[in-house]
Symmetry: C2
Subunit: 339 residues, 2 copies
């Protein structure tokens, strides 16, 4: 078996992208998208309207892609991965709808959020609907193992989101606590999405665990970069807002690093802006300046790369195929993406 | 088999109560309550705090009681009804948490709502957590039929809640549309809760359907009385707020009846207060006056009694036992309760 190409090689390679993964799984993904549209139908017209708004908003479909890819990597040849990938995307969409209400977000992927267009009430309830639909899809599939994995992931996601609320505005949050939050709110679903691909392929535990490890580490890398991009000029160049986490008082790794490395005066600044929520219009620029000065973005990137490498390493178990290479590139993409 | 006592007999009988049901199922209910407390645990302390606030707020536990009662009525002798009753209560609690956010309610059962104490954000997310926990309990139980019944009921509840938002402030809502909303948002879970008791007892379809019919009709009767009590002096005597639905512009049966029977001037009043949301402090008293003048509370009560009778009739299939009599009394309680 060939050694897996490390993400470090990406520096000399063309920019990593999701394209190879999409090319290999494009036909499956079309079927997933078709099923999503079919199953978000309801006689209550507002439900497909609102759900369609977010489902078609140009998400990367990364989580359902993990289910599809894991199944294919395990040599799966049936149809079950399609419905389960749709279930994964429904769970993800439900959490996005609720997150946007909780964060009072007005924009997602450059478009108005559902709560901005229709208000909080239908956004909450359509989230509940999609969550129920996800379970209906799993029940139709009929695997109690899959139901176990995804119901547990859903509970863990909610725990992570609540823990994030609890640690918000608290500059004494530890890095360990921060990592627990992102493992729960983001990486748990990545791990579960990949794991169920192995489950339906009926592969040995070692392969199942390897795919879950790939998903979990990829998810952590993704979230670290997400938290980094919130303070990055790259994000604003792409027409996306910068500083949302700062304004919300969310304690992310760039802030934790800048805080830990900061002078007493700087720590006073962080406490005023994040704990007391006392922010002036210039404070975001100052925050970004401090974060850059202390190398907090580079450090966050380095951590993300370490997790991406762990993700890549987890694939060692599988033969070197175009699909494995596409997943390795997905891990590289996770740390080089600007969106 | 004895004929089932009709709810009409309650007029000459002592006030109907839930006591007989609680007495017969008390030991089971204690186990359900214990399991609820155990399974709402999370390392994230805010979750059991917030969940405990609503779970211990003195709800009637009517839905889990239906699961327990249906199982016992079917002669079930195992333990599965305990966990499934807890799952039903978790689903119900999750919808209450989200409903209170959606309705911006500050009081439930005479106590501050969770959203009032902790804010909307954790109330939404703890709702998601409890919903996931419900599915974890069902997965542990291992019946795909039960998972099917309750995931479908959950989707239908969300549809009903969205449909209620859509029809709010619309005085041209038909009675049929109103009935669809309450069947979905309330009666579907009553029906599912009762049905799963028969499912785990492995009884013939006829018994399963009869119990679902009992639950559904009981649920409709309950919701009709709920909507009636919102305009009733009885509610205010019990220290509960009156007129919440009117203030929210919810179109319930008492309003639909008063509107249909009203003069053109009265219909103008309803349109101003409900459609335009233009309400003065005296408007609620006038609304109650119109509702009483047109006999809309009596009419709503009569409809509720008809559904309670249908619920009772559905029990004909089962032998006349203390438990069946307790369920008949539960149906009578549904229409005579003041809370």
């Amino acid at each position: 078996m060939e050694p897996v190409t490390s993400t470090a090689d990406k520096l000399s390679a063309p920019a990593a992208s999701l394209d190879p993964l999409f090319q290999l799984l494009g036909d499956d993904l079309i079927r997933v998208n078709r099923l999503i549209v079919e199953r978000m139908h309801s006689p209550v017209a507002l439900i497909p309207q609102l759900a369609g708004h977010i489902v078609s908003a140009g998400g990367k479909r990364l989580r359902p892609m993990l289910t599809l890819a894991a199944a294919r990597l395990c040599g799966y040849r049936g149809d079950r991965h399609i419905a389960l990938a749709a279930a994964v995307e429904f769970i993800h969409t439900a959490t996005l709808l609720h997150d946007d209400v909780v964060d009072e977000s007005a924009l997602r992927r450059g478009r108005d959020t559902a709560n901005e267009v229709w208000g909080n009430k239908p956004a909450i309830l359509v989230g509940d609907f999609l969550f129920s639909r996800a379970f209906q899809l799993m029940v139709e599939d009929g695997s109690l193992r899959v139901l176990d994995i995804l119901s547990t992931a859903s509970a863990v996601i909610a725990e992570g989101e609540v823990q994030q609320l609890v640690t918000a505005n608290d500059t004494s949050t530890t890095e360990a606590a921060y990592l627990e939050v992102i493992e729960a709110k983001t990486a748990a679903l990545f791990a579960a999405a990949a794991r169920i691909g192995a489950v339906i392929s009926d592969r040995p535990d070692a392969e199942e665990d390897a795919l879950a490890r790939f998903g979990r580490n990829l998810g952590i890398a993704f979230q670290l970069i997400d938290d980094m991009l919130d303070f990055s000029a790259r994000q604003s160049e792409l027409g996306k807002s910068v500083g949302d986490d700062f304004r919300d008082g969310k304690i992310t790794l760039p802030i934790l690093i800048a805080f830990a490395r900061g002078t007493p005066e700087e720590q006073t600044f962080w406490r005023r802006t994040l704990e007391d929520g006392d922010q002036t219009p210039d404070d975001l620029d100052h925050a970004i300046d401090l974060i850059e000065r202390h190398g907090a973005l580079d450090e966050t990137m380095a951590r993300a790369e370490a997790y991406a490498t762990k993700a890549t390493d987890a694939l060692q178990l599988f033969p070197d195929t175009p699909l494995r290479r596409a997943l390795v590139e997905t891990a590289a993409f996770a740390t080089t993406r600007g969106f």
